[in-house]
């Protein structure tokens, strides 16, 4: 990643014409998986997440003039992917993909009754996740991505690091309480 950061810094003296396909290929290679995960955490559908990643790189292509001014390319790209994915949820509800997503998670070696219980539990987790306050949900979803530290999450969300930590704590506590309440019923 260091080389990529260095490359992004080295962009400043480079003119737009010098932005070669090889540079773009390096950028795609370096960040596509991270951006895919960011989009997937919101949309929970691989095809939709891939569309978001494509859109991100289209934006990069469109704004290559302003790339030299970007301080942290990684966070900048994650923020674009995050916002595009959020924007997409206005048209595509992620809940509609939950069944497929859970199917991909459920263990195939479990007995039928246990598998059904597991599926129901995961459905309720996803349902409660969607019911969380927006900022708490966003903090929790971003924290699920290993590549992102608290500082980067804070930058993406436009909050302080301590605020992100508080949001994460509240999100987990609230989710746990609600799920336990649901189990007791």
């Amino acid at each position: 990643m260091g080389s990529i950061e260095g490359w992004s810094l080295a962009l400043s003296p480079i003119k737009e014409d010098a932005w070669s396909e090889a540079d773009l290929a390096v950028l795609v290679q370096a960040y596509s998986t991270l951006l895919f995960r960011v989009a997937h955490s919101i949309l929970r559908n691989p095809a939709e997440a891939e569309d978001v990643v494509q859109d991100v790189f289209v934006r990069v292509l469109q704004h290559r003039r302003s790339l030299p001014a970007v301080r942290d390319l990684r966070v900048w790209l994650v923020r674009i992917a995050w916002n595009l994915a959020l924007d997409r949820t206005r048209r595509v509800r992620p809940e509609q993909w939950d069944e497929l997503f859970i199917e991909s998670l459920a263990g195939s070696n479990l007995p039928a009754d246990q598998a059904m219980q597991e599926t129901q539990r995961m459905q309720s987790v996803l349902r409660e996740l969607e019911r969380l306050p927006k900022s708490e949900r966003h903090a929790l979803l971003l924290s699920a991505i290993d590549e992102l530290g608290t500082a980067e999450i804070a930058e993406v969300m436009g909050r302080s690091e301590s605020a992100v930590r508080a949001l994460l704590f509240r999100a987990r506590t609230r989710l746990k309480e609600r799920l336990e309440k649901g189990e007791r019923r």
Binding site: R44, P46, E50, V58, R121, S124, D146
Partner: protein, 201 residues
Amino acid sequence: MNHSEEAVEKILAALRKAEAPSDMNLRILRMLQQKDAIHSQRKSAPGWLSLSGTRSFAFGTAFAGLFAVALFVPALLRLRHHPSATFDGSTASVRPTQAASSPRAQVSFAPPVHPLQRPKSHKAGTARREDSQLLETTHAPSQPAPPLPLTEQEKLLIDIAHRGDPQQLAMLNTQLRLQEEKEEKAEFQNFFEPPASGEKQ
């Protein structure tokens, strides 16, 4: 850790480990190549073809202007043809024979044509069309409709008014007329029916 927490962790782990499709990068790069090619084509195209921002606005305005001119020119041409068809006192001539034969005077608005001068075919056609239009307007019922002819009583009243005979004019007053009738009746009765006392006398 209970079942719910396990489920939460499982879901978060699944989101964490989500793997992008293997050929996603290839697809993205191909798409970017296409986009870039389109972009470079646009850049190499002449300036007026790449309509953006103020330029597109300027072209839009110019196009709207041309459209307005295209609408305006035929209207102007039509207006220029029109005055020849309007009534011109100097060229109008009343044909006495036709005027005598029909109750309505037929007015020809066509300009006098010299017998040796052969009018051009399209001009003659236009003139004929204009003549027929004018005749149609001439023969059309006038607006508002002409007044109805006077009744006999109205004619008599006008006659009395014109003569100015005071006795006849006075007779038009109902009260006076009734009074006179009364007096006449009384005179008649006095004349033909003398008082009974007189006979006795």
